[in-house]
Amino acid sequence: MIDLSLLPDFIAETEEHLEEMESCLLQLESEPDNLNVLNDIFRSIHTIKGSAEFVGLERIAELSHKLENVLDRLRQGEKTVNMEIVDTLIEAKDRIELLVQDLESAQEEKTGIDDIIDRIKKVTGDTGEQDSVRNSQESNGEDYGETAESIETTDALENKTQDEINEDEYYNEEYDEELFEIFLEQLKENISFIKTQTALMKDSDSKVDLFDECVDSISRLKSSANYMGYEKLVLVYEQWISRIKKVTEGLSSGEELFTDFMTDYIKKILKGFPQIEKEDVAAETDSKDGKKEQSRIDDDQDLYDKLGSAFDSSMALNDDYESDLTEEEMEEALFSGKESGLMQLPLIESTHKADDETDDVEEMLFRRDESIPKDPVTTEITEGEPEKSEKDIDLNLRFEINDEEIVQEEIVDQRKGERRKEDRRTDDRRLFDRRKSETSTVVKQSVRVEAVKIDSLMNQVGELVVSRAFFSQVFNEMKDLQQYLKKNVKLNQRDMKPVRDITFKLAEATVALGRVANELQEGVMKVRMLPISQLFNRYPRLVRDLVNDTDKQVQLEIRGEDTELDKMIIEEISDPLIHIIRNAVDHGFETADERKELGKPEIGTLVLEAYHEGNHIVIEITDDGKGLNAELIRTRAVEKKLFTKEEINRMSEKELTRIIMMPGFSTAKKVTHTSGRGVGMDVVKKNIEKLNGTIEINSKPGIQMQLKIKIPLTLAIIPALLVRLGGDIFTIPLATVEETLRIFNHETSTIEGVEVIHLRDCTMPIFRLSELFGITPENLDKNKSFVVIVSTGMQQIGLVVDELMGQQEVVIKPMEDYLQENSGFSGATIIGDGRISLILDVYELVNMTAGRQKKRQKELSFQRIVEGNDGGDYQAPVTVH
């Protein structure tokens, strides 16, 4: 059964682990002897396995279990890492990914795993027999094939007696702490359940039922021990179950009931897990009734445990505790420290006493108190108020405890009255030390937050940004008022003073608000920021797969992977980047032989680089392949009737590169086959533009090809240029603004129906926005107009506006889709005075103007045909959509 409630967490977690695993696997490929990498992979897969079993995902669990086996053998040096194994591992990892995707879409595992498991077996030369041989030889109880395991364990059941199993080695040093906790929790629950059942047995009529319930719970424990990889423990459980079965059979044939073996087992198991007992005790004392049978061991365990914790604390007192020791190591340290401990003797005595005599919890408690006075340190407390101390113990035991440390501390308190404070302090310190070391060992601590929550926070911050703008405006109005009062009302200095004061205060308040708003905005944005390594780390694999089976050699270089950007943008540019990289590898690079002939290094280099540039992130994808073939683009473009021959010949290199991003062009298979680039480049362009980004292509034929993607760091709040058109204010994202000019009307000229200006020896088309939007312009100066040069990365146009209003941070708010689609606006924003300003979608505008341009050209050529009809040989330029 799959636990659906755990599924989303599982998916998120597993995806992370898989990602990590992939980069490790690729590293392993290049450094087969790196044991650290191997361990990292092992850890990832182990965690996946554990959580998969916990959630109830059989296939993922099985597959990861198999992988674990392989990895373990690699780790042990029984196998050496070779290409085949790495390939298989990668494939298996992909399979797990597929399964996770299944889960995401259908909440169940669909993809089969049999073939991949066969392959793993083949690669490692694994057979069941080998496993079982190894199994009996090894003392390390982890990681064997499941089939082999079952064969082995049944054998073992017959051959091994209980005593042969060393119960102290139930668990391996290497375990996942989180999983271990879950495991302990479950162990605790089930054990206490079994205890209760056992206790009830004596007086119950339905003994067989009770036994059955116990068997159920033991089976559960067994499976959990299995997923933790505690082989020995599994064996113990199996023995237990078979023992119970025998007893129940005996019961039905009228044999006398004896339950001692149950308690023996419990005792035995608990011994292996000292961590659980203290908690166990808490549960125990809660339900005192009918527990004569096991109270003995409980108390035994209880004291054993207290002893342990007492030493634990005294250890902590003595030296700086290494907090990332494993539980086992801690235990070891404890016992080696016995000699120095003060508490040892009396406590052990009490343990014996308890063991021998007690039948009853209460009695037991008294007895312990009696034994305690022998301890010189605690005499005062216990002798003085035995009754109270009993209560104390009771209370402490009843206390529902989650934190081990607290339990220890409390018990220590009782025992070591005088040293109480000291201990607490050391305990605290130890806790602190542990936390500290946790933060330093764990790479980054993170909190999972729903994206929606951050978005709504972002919205609020957006509102704050608007209010900030409002405040500055109020301040400006106040200044105007001050001026007015001074000049027009002619207030004297004394009357002016309060006005000036208020203006000053307002200024201060505005600045303060601005500062807080800025920081808050920055902070919230940072929350959404993630290092781009998240994205880049996916690509080594891609390149590897692409190069595989070709005669090309490509090495991927990643730079600036720590550069951070908005999580949403990361998701959005993932696919375009894949596309670009695929193009570069498929078509950009020459084969190794070709490169040799050309005198280039045989291994091609693909560089992925990210860096910040102002409020933008720039991603550069550079390859040292053959670049674009301008001539081919020209011919294909004409063939495809995208442009006329005259047009194409007039085009600069830069304009030519733009062609490859045109929709019609990209699908041309022939072109892509010979010249490379172009498949789906229009999609790439669209995706980037959707993010308000720009894309630039720099090609040096034969040397290199570079794609430069520039994207704003975040989408929610952008710096923008406000312009006025008639009575309305429009917003142009600053990202697209190249420069602003002021031109005289006579500086414009018209070429083929398009208004152009000359800017630094270039002609640049200009468009009057007022015309485009049907707004009556209100120019301040009839002879001059303002032009905002905007760029889409590949293309620049000038937009004529009435007035430049200044620069401001604006919050983008979406409009209803029927207003926004193809309208030339990407949204709206609220400016300082509460008015709405529409945000121009520069790309859309360029497209719109291009459409208009074509239409106009058509009209013009039509006119020319009509006019030039007599000329005879005049050929109208062919215009094709």
Binding site: M815, D817, I836
Partner: protein
């Protein structure tokens, strides 16, 4: 006691069942109604920002406490020929139409009207007040006047609006 409350509630329910509360509003001389449950709020004139290249009947967008909301000139949307009165104090009805918060310009708003649902008649075949029957959910008589219940789901048929705009821009 509990039973009493229950029956009382039942009775109350029976009474309110079949009773519909409408917000009445007028455009020109015609009286219209919209289910009160759809009305999010009614605001006085707000500064409207025109959106270039949008359909004629889209008056523009307004800033409603930080949200951008389109405002539709109902008169134009319904294709009324009633001469546009220079309504100085026009109102904007903010309606929630299947999650799309949209404002509608109307001349005036009346009080809340209660009518029996049974009193609503299906739209007549013939054109009422120069209004296509597809935009009408029903009509009913109130104080000897004809009240037209508008079908706002139809009025704000987004696909249609998109098409209208395409026709305009092409």
């Amino acid at each position: 006691m509990q039973e009493n409350i229950a029956t009382e509630r039942d009775r109350e329910f029976e009474e309110t069942e079949g009773l519909m509360q409408l917000v009445g509003f007028s455009i020109g001389k015609e009286l219209f109604g919209v289910d009160i449950l759809m009305v999010q709020e009614i605001i006085r004139e707000a500064p409207i920002t025109a959106v270039p290249n949008s359909p004629d009947f889209v008056e523009g967008i307004i800033n409603l406490r930080g949200n951008i909301i389109p405002v539709i000139e109902l008169r134009k949307r319904l294709g009324f020929f009633t001469p546009e009165v220079a309504a100085k104090d026009s109102w904007i009805l903010i309606l929630d139409i299947k999650g799309r918060i949209t404002g509608f310009n109307v001349d005036s708003v009346t009080e809340v009207l209660k009518i029996q649902e049974s009193a609503i008649e299906p739209p007549p075949e013939i054109v009422v007040a120069g209004l296509e029957s597809q935009y009408i959910r029903g009509v009913c008589e109130i104080d000897e006047k004809l009240l037209i219940l508008l079908e706002f789901n139809r009025i704000l048929l987004v696909d249609e609006i998109k098409k209208l705009r395409e026709m305009k821009t092409s």
